[in-house]
């Protein structure tokens, strides 16, 4: 196509300007990609930090509605009231069926039944309030990684003892093998033993969490035939709302995605992503304005040549096409250079480590960003060339040759 050849020749004839435009455009693309990688990296890091040690989806019994203890007229006097049952707890009973259903979902990596309850660990005059998680022995690491964070003892619930956090152990001066009294809010008591000590990432967990085999937890929390919740871990934490929605439709139970329990995190990620998108949009806009202004200058510089072309019968459409092709070529070159540079730069930034060996920046390559930036740069450059193209095609040959 001849117009393409003319466009290419025009770009080559002003190599310095073309080079600067391409480098400028490529820098815009690089900035776009680095920002995208940082935004995604931060979102992934935050998501992992928050969702890494909690269930992605929880299935719980329907919430019990709070009612007045005695529903009597205001002017009456209640002399005595006896609750029908103070021990009836909201619980999930059909556990195997629910676990099967949960595990059948393609997004689900694993599902486990949990008994959860508040308790005190009592040792002499010392006591500590904790949350006890009762789990099947095989599911210890399903929700939060415990085994790989173990600092003492064994991560084996089948031994019947407790696995506790390092801070809690320090507070109560406990070691592996220490005996301690566990007293639950349901009145259950058990003299138990510390089988393992782990170090959690978060101090709250490290100080207030203890794992116990589910059979013992059921007895202590008065749940002989049920559990408090079914907990699901997904391959992709971001899929939780969709999975929760689906299960909610299928079950008459309370199904919650982790994001619903952590709305602040979602707001932070959304805000950060929005900021990044705005900066990315302005970066691309700057590139496109640069392309448009450079090509507009080119139309003034080549006014004579364009007039001559028009004088010997080349159409306005041909002239306009030459300039749109110039914009398109600039977009292709800028995006190719920028994508290459962006890929190397983000990989390099993502490999820099601090003195402690941790990664300096939360970088995560965003494949979609590459596709978006290539399409946006090429299309945008072509569109940016439309104004110069219109200007060029409207040149009257008489101005030049008359």
């Amino acid at each position: 196509m001849f117009a393409l050849k003319v466009a290419w020749r025009y770009l080559l004839s002003t190599r310095l300007q073309t080079g600067l435009l391409v480098v400028g455009g490529a820098l815009g693309v690089v900035i776009f990609l680095v920002l995208a990688a940082l935004a995604k990296g931060l979102a992934v890091t935050l998501t992992d930090a928050v969702s890494g040690s909690i269930p992605h989806v929880t299935i719980e019994p329907p919430q019990v509605r709070a009612r007045p203890f005695v529903d009597a007229p205001a002017d009456s006097v209640v002399q005595a009231a006896t609750p029908l049952s103070s021990t009836v707890r909201a619980q999930i009973r059909n556990v195997p069926a629910l676990l099967s259903l949960a595990r059948a979902q393609p997004e689900v990596k694993g599902a486990t039944a949990r008994v959860l309850g508040s308790a005190f660990l009592v040792r002499g005059e010392s006591r500590a309030a904790i949350t006890v998680q009762g789990l099947e022995t095989t599911d210890l690491d399903l929700i939060a990684p415990v085994t790989k964070k173990l600092v003492a003892g064994e991560a084996d619930l089948s031994r019947g003892g407790l696995i506790i956090g390092q801070t809690l152990a320090k507070d109560l001066e406990l070691r592996v093998g220490s005996t301690i009294l566990l007293r639950t809010d349901r009145g259950g008591e058990r003299l138990t033993r510390v089988d393992g000590i782990y170090k959690a990432d978060e101090e709250g967990q490290d100080r207030g969490n203890a794992y116990l085999v589910i059979s013992v937890a059921r007895a202590l929390f008065d749940l002989p035939g049920g559990v408090d919740e079914i907990s699901l871990k997904l391959h992709d934490a971001n899929a939780a709302p969709a999975v929760a929605r689906r299960l909610r439709g299928a079950l008459a139970l309370r199904v919650t995605a982790w994001q619903e329990r952590n709305p602040l995190l979602a707001a932070i990620i959304l805000s950060q992503t929005t900021q990044t998108n705005i900066i990315q949009a302005f970066t691309l806009l700057t590139v496109l304005v640069g392309v448009a202004s450079a090509l507009l200058l080119s139309t003034y510089r080549r006014r004579g040549e364009i007039g001559v072309m028009r004088s010997f019968g080349l159409s306005r459409g041909f002239v306009a096409t030459v300039f749109v092709f110039q914009g398109t070529i600039l977009g292709v070159l800028s995006s190719a250079l920028g994508v290459t540079g962006g890929w190397f730069l983000t990989n390099w930034l993502g490999s820099i480590k601090t003195n402690t060996g941790d990664l300096l920046l939360p970088i995560s390559q965003d494949g979609a960003a590459y596709a978006i930036v290539v399409v946006a740069t090429i299309t945008g450059s072509a569109v940016a060339a439309v104004i110069p193209a219109r200007s060029a095609s409207s040149i009257d040959p008489l101005e030049v040759v008359g």
């Binding site: 001559v308 010997f312 030049v400 008359g402």
Partner: protein, 240 residues
């Protein structure tokens, strides 16, 4: 219908700027037979360039009739005029106006891309043939910046002929050349006019160039005062 390639009747061109009207051409009548050469002479500001650009369909007359090759050009759309210009007319300018980023061969070929479908293999062969004809086959791949003034004008003549036009309009084609180069270009125009059967209208201030054209149109104050059909010349040195 006459046998004239170009027929102009009562052609008027008036420029308006606000309330001010400036008549430039005041009723031109002109006939140009096919395959001949005509000089358009007259003092500066007489309307030579205006007439040339109207003949070249680059601007429209205020009134009057204009036919080229039997086709009335009054009332055609801009797109039709552009296509007509591309197919039937050629231009040679005083300052050659070659495209600096394209070789001599590419410059010659350029107007062929104005046709639907672009340049054909035959066009490319013709570009070579024309460069050979103007004596620049050995400068085929040179950029305009690497050619002398006379060579550039010869390339411009070849470019004007690529689409086999019936009429080539040349505005002071030798005005920017020294006498020797001007004589060479004029000889080339004569030879090509004969071999291609193309008519030339040359706007010029040079009496010697004008004398080498069988027909002279003298414009004064917007009217053609004198039409001279000169006898064919035998040598470039002959004068009227």
């Amino acid at each position: 219908m006459s046998t004239s390639l170009v027929q102009v009747r009562d052609l008027v061109k008036t420029f308006r700027q606000g309330e001010l009207t400036t008549p430039v051409l005041r009723g031109i009548d002109l006939d140009l037979p096919a395959g001949t050469r005509a000089a358009l002479v007259g003092p500066s500001g007489s309307g030579k360039s205006t007439l040339l650009t109207i003949l070249g369909t680059l601007q429209r007359p205020t009134s009057g009739r204009l036919e080229i090759d039997g086709r009335s050009l009054i009332g055609l759309t801009e797109r039709e005029l552009t296509a007509f210009r591309n197919a039937r007319l050629g231009f040679v300018f005083q300052f050659h106006h070659l495209l600096p980023d394209f070789t001599a061969w590419e410059n010659v070929l350029f107007p062929a891309f104005g046709r639907a479908g672009g340049a054909t293999r035959a066009d490319k062969e013709r570009a070579d043939e024309l460069l050979d004809k103007v004596g620049l086959a050995h400068r085929r791949d040179f950029l305009p910046g690497q050619l002398s003034g006379g060579q550039k004008q010869r390339v411009a003549i070849a470019r004007a002929l690529i689409n086999r036009p019936n009429l080539v309009l040349a505005d002071e084609p030798t005005g920017n050349l020294d006498r020797e180069a001007a004589a060479q270009v004029m000889t080339l125009i004569e030879e090509i006019g004969r071999s291609e059967g193309t008519a030339f209208v040359l706007s010029t201030h040079d009496a010697e160039i004008a004398s080498r054209c069988p027909i002279t149109f003298r414009i004064e104050a917007g009217t053609i005062r004198q039409t001279v059909a000169a006898a064919p010349l035998t040598s470039p040195a002959a004068s009227p």
